[in-house]
Symmetry: C2
Subunit: 337 residues, 2 copies
Amino acid sequence: MVTISDLAKITGYSVSTVTRVLSHNGAANQEAEERILLAARLTGYQSDTFSHAEQKRSSKLIGIIVENESRQNEMEHPLFGGILDAFRDHVGKRGYDILYLSKSFNSGMSYMEDCRYRNVEGILIANSVYDDPEVADLVASGIPCVSAAEFIPGICTVVCENTLSSKKGVAHLIANGHTKIGYIAGPYQVRSPAAIERGEGYKQALKAAGITYDTKRIEKAEQWELDAGYAACEKLFARCPDLTAVFCACDTLAVGAMQYLRKIGKRIPEDVSFVGFDDALISLCCHPSLTTFRQNREKIACACAQKLIDVINGNDEYEIVRVPVDFIERDSVARLN
Amino acid sequence: MVTISDLAKITGYSVSTVTRVLSHNGAANQEAEERILLAARLTGYQSDTFSHAEQKRSSKLIGIIVENESRQNEMEHPLFGGILDAFRDHVGKRGYDILYLSKSFNSGMSYMEDCRYRNVEGILIANSVYDDPEVADLVASGIPCVSAAEFIPGICTVVCENTLSSKKGVAHLIANGHTKIGYIAGPYQVRSPAAIERGEGYKQALKAAGITYDTKRIEKAEQWELDAGYAACEKLFARCPDLTAVFCACDTLAVGAMQYLRKIGKRIPEDVSFVGFDDALISLCCHPSLTTFRQNREKIACACAQKLIDVINGNDEYEIVRVPVDFIERDSVARLN
DNA sequence: CTGAAAGCGCTTACAG
DNA sequence: CTGAAAGCGCTTACAG
């Protein structure tokens, strides 16, 4: 391992001058600069992060929290993989590496302890257990945080245009002649209001078209998984067998719902049309392929990275950033008459 | 921030004694120990990782490589999310944090440079771009590596029981009366031999049952994605329209293949039965649900963690670890006659 | 523009 | 069992 003092010996300059040149910080004459840079290249010198970080009190480390709430089935989340990939690229370009935070670290260190231990400079809360007290501690500790999931009081949240988009989706059903439209919601969580906000769009679209908004046509699934969509659809159609279309708060619920309808002999989309949300991989695999909204992982990640780096740099105005989504038309919507 | 010398002042002991007590390293009398530990607790002392790591030359950091080869569709990989979750827990318990390595770090640092820069102690190559020269550099650098994907010469690889399992899957088709069985393979990659090994199991099962092994009944998909499965199935059935069952090298290919058959009016499983591999989420969403093999993410992660920590500790016997898979029977196989 | 010196918080021989 | 001292590799005032 070659150090800065090796470089000093080799070039004949002092360690101070070598540091100055290497960190592009402070003056040095041209010859000194050239010789030192050359020596560094030739010897393959690489600065020691530990010593550097110790001095600068700066780890250049961003923590990410990705907890899998429904570990029992180990399903892959349709969004966070893509978001993390893009997020990593964005912050990487700014010199940050990513630490994948764990609750198991050192057998029981909390997120906050781990972050302090590593001097993590900022945190992306990509997918946390709902209302996790450990996350609350973290936020309270003052370490810069941005959430890509829950609304957490006091920190910035990046979230997609739920209401506007779902309004557009339901309007699309209406434009295709549907008037008896149901809504299968996910759990109503105040801090993760996707189901609530998407329901708001559903309501707005109906009102805008002069269609009666009837809460009987709404069924709230217990979870966001397949089975819950199946069960919710069963209840919904027991109550409203005349529905010709269903808007679902996410693709997984839609696929579960479609499985129920198929089981009772309904054809999709001939008998019942569907619009989902997220553009998960399954929306291409189910039959028929699902008309849905694509959450743009790249845009979400970019907004998270930008916002988090702003906060780290002291630019911490609280804000909710809304990211637009793209409507993807596939085969699950039939034109009525 | 409270330091070790603060603790020394508070307790009246020297920094040497404080370190010794705190690191459980070296002798100290009972009273000293109690007072120092108490002071540490009261002040909320937390050792500074940078200084500590600088001295010990030990980062307690494990890097993971997860590159998304098919970024164009940003599909989530059906396996690696689950593997990483479990891996993180395993190494976390041993005091390692995880660094999510990036090619974008610092605009163009290679994996190896980033690893050296951070003093990463070991690396899990979970999903790399096939035959990536940057990965080759990393392996050559001597940093302990374990692969959960490719076979990389000289390093340990953890991989599932491909041949045995697929033999069992095809035997299951045979037991259900099928004799005209096709195989849709993925790309034959020497270093990622899933398609090859699963094909070997297909062959062994046929031979064991006295059924002629005919390579006409094998079609190699160009990639591992839906479209490729669709296209491969089209070619396969153009050549062998009489097949009653198809074994696929992965679930995604199977779903794509089923989509093709549905399009030409075949019923599944009545006309053609299917067995997949991986137990991806989509195998539950497609219709009919897919009989497949579940790769046990937990077991794979555990084996990777154990192996990597062994290698880090100098216990580096080269080995290929085979992890068993579970057969999951669903609705895509019909009994013939 | 350049260097000597002190410092960061921690660890490790080495004496006592 | 305990402490003074030197060291890790790097950075930062401070003189010159």
